[in-house]
Symmetry: C2
Subunit: 93 residues, 2 copies
DNA sequence: TCAAATTACGGTCGACGTAAGGATC
DNA sequence: GATCCTTACGTCGACCGTAATTTGA
């Protein structure tokens, strides 16, 4: 599992559509599809049901979404906890 | 930042020595040294003081260690939460 | 000189993007 | 046929391990 996979997963969950998630993340669709598949295989379960409109969270997916969001939020917190300037602050110098 | 970097960082912090951490992680020393440097650069701060005996946590390092451990623990929790359905996934259907 | 970290370097594995291939409506 | 997701395939960057270098007691 990687943080990128979690970011991809959350984006897909929020967009309900891999194509839109890809656009939002500024990558093409295949990487998202592949990373999602890889994540599902590692977890040993299916997170989304694939539909013709896009994808839809399954119960395991909903559950995992909470974890993923919490982890990513704490990563952000960890980054900024060192009292170091944010990206925008650093640019402003 | 990657989860691997966090794992390496925690191991180095606990061993106080990159060589021992490498042995524990079953990798060679250079990857740990490189990933640590990369992490420090991304965070914009130094996490360890390098000594001839090994390395020693600096204040920023101690602070970051808490975050890293919490993140890694939650990753484990996320992985295992799907195997044994917990009560946290009881929400609006 | 010893022990530890770091840097150099070559090779391998992984991830991306374009393109092609299903599947469902 | 249109719109998704997925698989194929070639390329490029990232990471590893061995080896060489640096640094400090």
């Amino acid at each position: 599992m990687s943080l990128v996979q979690l970011e991809y997963f959350v984006a897909i969950a929020e967009e309900g559509n891999i194509g839109r998630a890809a656009k939002r993340l500024h990558v093409s669709q295949p990487p998202l599809s592949r990373q999602l598949k890889s994540l599902e295989e590692e977890l040993g379960t299916t997170l989304f049901a694939r539909t013709t409109r896009g994808v839809e969270l399954l119960p395991h997916g909903k559950q995992f979404l909470h974890h993923a969001r919490r982890i990513l939020a704490q990563v952000e917190e960890a980054k900024h906890s060192l009292g170091q300037p944010s990206d925008t602050d650093r640019e402003a110098q």
